[in-house]
């Protein structure tokens, strides 16, 4: 296995192990997601708005907010004991370091999403049925995009005084295209529309991922190299 991949996996594994031990960020994100779902449910008037109209937006807003909670932890862990220096001293590229961090974040945000989804179908009485594979697919596609940008922004935000505020301020505009695309595709999937109606959005999501993952990988060095 090429060095860079071994390195990235080692970093991702380390993040996951550390988080499983402390569990703080993961639990906060899950609780947060559940709360958001509950609030949405009570905030709407079921006689006016059918669940199916609102469902995709509720799902994705929940995913987005929970992702921000999860992403905040990404570089927080590296602040203790100057651990980030330990990663920067290693004889591997900054790009591999970024990929490792991104993989760990994908694992966290993905976990939160996988737990939130059944809760969502439960609270909103939505039948995913045959739309499930498609929904999993679009979730993966959209998540990759905003986790990439979220990872690099969290590396910057952690160096500021109000890190938890800085990250959403920077990240939210970047989450909009993936969110819009995801909501559009999700709502069509739930309505069992043909693929041709969502293809444009899927392409947008894929293009976003390609452009921003590449950009973030390339600019990460400028963030961590002093």
């Amino acid at each position: 296995m090429p060095e860079a991949i071994r390195f990235a996996l080692a970093i991702a594994a380390k993040d996951i192990r550390a988080e499983l031990r402390s569990k703080t960020a993961l639990l906060s994100a899950l609780v947060f997601a559940a709360l958001v779902l509950v609030v949405f449910n009570f905030a709407r008037d079921p006689t006016v708005l059918a669940a199916s109209d609102l469902a995709p937006s509720v799902l994705w807003v929940t995913f987005a907010l929970a992702a921000i909670v999860a992403l905040n932890r990404a570089f927080n862990i590296e602040r203790e004991n100057a651990a980030l220096d330990g990663l920067l001293l290693a004889p591997v590229s900054r790009e591999a370091l970024f990929v490792g961090k991104m993989l760990a974040n994908l694992a966290f945000v993905g976990t939160v999403e996988l737990v939130t989804l059944p809760l969502f179908t439960l609270f909103f009485n939505v039948n995913l049925g045959r739309a499930l594979p498609g929904i999993l697919g679009v979730t993966a596609l959209a998540t990759i995009g905003f986790v990439a940008v979220g990872t690099i922004f969290s590396a910057m935000a952690v160096r500021t005084r109000f890190a938890e505020l800085m990250l959403p301020v920077l990240l939210l505009p970047f989450m909009v295209p993936p969110l819009i695309g995801a909501v559009q595709v999700t709502s069509r999937l739930l309505a069992a529309r043909p693929l041709s109606e969502m293809w444009g959005w899927v392409r947008l999501l894929a293009l976003y991922d390609i452009v921003f993952v590449t950009l973030c990988v390339l600019t990460f060095s400028a963030v961590v190299d002093e």
Binding site: M156, M166, P173, P177, I180, Q184, V211
Partner: protein, 236 residues
């Protein structure tokens, strides 16, 4: 100890020139007002309220220009690491946030009489809203990072990422509109503009560009002066 007058002179010169240009721009702006209200025909369908178009469009354009230059300066900064590029990017962002704020306040003023609503998600307003949010984020990050070298690097990355976000916002809005056609068709920038309207519009574009340059120069000069003062204080 403060920086000597001689040391501050280049910064002061920039500020003076910038203020002059800005003043010129503001005078020009007043001229555009007069031109638009007095010497340009009233648009048949939208009436008097359409005139805000002569401010609305160039302001949005200036915000976009400001942002593109932030992006460009950011790329050049990461390559050349010249602090002047970073200073220019910050100055441009300051100009951009002002222009986009202007646009976001004039936009609803225009929309209300024409469409009966304060806000529409039309392409230009939406884009300018995003530019505004990106500028605010950019400036907030700059305010939160104290080390100048780190601040420059971080801003540059945000500038580059932001510059590439803009086409995606545009694409999203476009895709959305083709699938959800709005009941009201919006075509203020139709090519079939009578020559007086075109003339006023072009003059307005020029005025806004002058305003942009004046603003950026002034801000750049002020930032430079501040840095020189700090240096002098540290050296003491």
């Amino acid at each position: 100890m403060n920086a000597s007058n001689a040391a501050l002179e280049p910064a002061r010169r920039l500020v003076r020139r910038g203020l002059t240009l800005s003043l010129l721009g503001l005078v020009g702006l007043a001229g555009v007002y007069v031109l638009a209200l007095g010497f340009t025909p009233i648009e048949a369908r939208q009436g008097l309220a359409q005139k805000i178009f002569y401010l609305h469009v160039p302001a949005a354009w200036s915000a976009l220009l400001a942002f593109s230059l932030v992006g460009l300066a950011s790329i050049l900064y990461l390559w050349l690491r010249d602090p002047r590029l970073d200073r220019f990017a910050a100055a441009s962002a300051n100009a951009g946030v002002a222009f986009s704020a202007v646009m976001l306040t004039t936009g609803p003023i225009w929309a209300k009489p024409i469409w009966g609503t304060w806000w529409t998600w039309d392409a230009r307003l939406t884009l300018t809203l995003f530019l505004f949010l990106l500028f605010v984020g950019y400036l907030a990050l700059r305010a939160a990072v104290h080390d100048p070298s780190e601040r420059a690097r971080f801003s540059a990355v945000v500038g580059i990422l932001g510059m590439l976000l803009v086409p995606f916002i545009h694409l999203s809005v476009y895709l959305f509109r083709t699938l959800h056609p709005q009941p009201i068709v919006l075509k203020p920038s139709a090519p079939s503009l009578p020559p007086e309207m075109l003339r006023t519009l072009l003059i307005s574009f020029t005025v806004f560009t002058v305003l942009y340059l004046g603003f950026v120069m002034t801000r750049y000069g002020l930032m430079l002066a501040e840095e020189l003062q700090e240096e002098a204080r540290d050296a003491a």
